[in-house]
Symmetry: C2
Subunit: 277 residues, 2 copies
């Protein structure tokens, strides 16, 4: 039986992503308070795999995930999946639209529902709390005038009613999650490979790396920079390319990239998400 971690508490989008990934397979699920705690738990062998967010279509990269994979743990990506993020207005049973005096959530979902809130609740006070699940819990324990913004799973977890579905402003709110484990995945023929590297400190060094992918006709689908942390103005680069480490062109190109970078780490080859987005 697979032991799998997700970013808790119950009712988060990470929880939803984990259930989507695991499907009908037999498993034991463990929730963690932070992404670092969860990844260290894989290294210690407490769990086999963990589902972590890596980027959102509106908010961008999840920096803590990138930083952990680059320098804190020696783990691999073995799958990716994309989840549509839908926010909802959650209330205690018996609360109606007219009763709501305070709306609670984390700043990110509040930001995603700004137009809905100002159109429907111009007079209501918005209060930032530290997590969406925390907001749902507070609403469950609190008075009638409170509403939380959160997922359908959060409503289930805290026994709340959903007063309005899909209240986020844009239709393009997706989060990409990756599944982290000790080993990456087999070749399927429709794969992606993730690496992280830093270049030498001289002009044009990033260009020379991308030139390698160009020479081998390898399609780079993403490049994300993060600070190298030893000096302002020095960066490490996370790059996703189409293909598997067992493909000859990928293997040859990565061999060359390794030679031309001052730091190189292979993060895994895994099947590309088939989600249409």
């Amino acid at each position: 039986m697979i032991k799998i971690g997700f970013l808790g508490p119950k009712g988060t989008f990470s929880h939803e992503a984990m259930e989507k990934y695991i499907g009908a397979r037999e498993h034991a699920a463990y929730d963690y308070g932070t992404i670092p705690d969860m990844l260290y738990a894989i290294q210690r062998g407490d769990i086999d795999e963990a589902v972590v967010p890596i980027e959102n279509s509106l908010e961008g990269a999840v920096n803590v995930t990138l930083d952990m994979l680059a320098s804190e743990v020696d783990l691999k990506i073995r799958a990716e999946l994309v989840l549509a993020i839908k926010q909802n207005l959650l209330v205690k049973k018996g609360t109606g639209f007219g009763d709501i005096k305070h709306i609670l959530s984390h700043p990110q979902p509040i930001g995603q529902c700004r137009k809905y809130i100002s159109a429907n609740f111009p007079e209501v006070q918005v209060r930032y709390v530290y997590s969406t699940a925390g907001a749902a819990e507070e609403v469950a324990k609190g008075e009638k005038g409170l509403a939380a913004i959160g997922s359908v799973k959060a409503a289930e977890a805290y026994g709340l009613d959903i007063l309005a579905y899909g209240i986020q402003d844009g239709e393009n709110n997706f989060t990409r999650f990756v599944v982290i484990a000790n080993e990456d995945n087999e070749r399927t023929g429709y794969d992606k490979t993730s690496i992280v590297f830093s270049t030498e400190d001289r002009p044009g060094s990033l260009y020379r790396i991308l030139d390698i992918f160009n020479l081998w006709d390898i399609n780079m689908t993403r490049i994300e920079s993060r600070p190298a942390k030893n000096q302002l103005g020095r960066y490490i680069f996370f790059v996703d390319i189409n293909g598997h480490r067992d493909d000859e062109d990928i293997r040859d190109a990565l061999t060359m990239v390794k030679r031309k970078t001052s730091f190189f780490k292979f993060l895994g080859s895994y099947p590309r998400s088939k989600a249409e987005y």
Copy 2:
């Protein structure tokens, strides 16, 4: 007299950066609660310039600044400056090391002082609050057992004592600020130019842009991607290059970049910070 904005309240690192930038020049300073509020104030003509953080050597890009410059306002960068970020332990007069029961701050400074806290205050409870200045204010109003983590300016603003100086874990904590205005700056011969663009949606399109800089021997000092927000997996790129828009090679290269990108915005040419970092 120049009207200049900073990210308030008084005592923030933005406040310190603003004072460093303005020096002895006559000015009126205005504090704003958010970066968007401040940038819209320039567009409305309420203030002439504003000092905003754009990247930190440990935490990376300040996304809200990038997103605002790319798509919400039509303003330019006219200067940059780099500030060393030093965190301090702030207490009410009369509080000693042994009195401290709770340490308050924003998660970012707490994260920057994690080693110091666990070495010196293993038993103390850490509490996250929404801003460093808010933490200082709470300590000033609260009981003896509270300490805040924040800047020297925050101590001054809220009348607190500094019990320990420079408690951040790394010595490499710098924030780069940019000065935003309606117009960018004149050529000095030691300049930087910032642009933002998105590439066509086909393989190798980012490579072809960097190829242009390579052809003209232009040094790219930074590339930062942000989500395009219309679709997961589509990005816009912020690029800094050395040189001024009045330099012939920069002008020619940017003309070519404009032709090869689906979206292009010039963000300004301005003197490079001379800070040694």
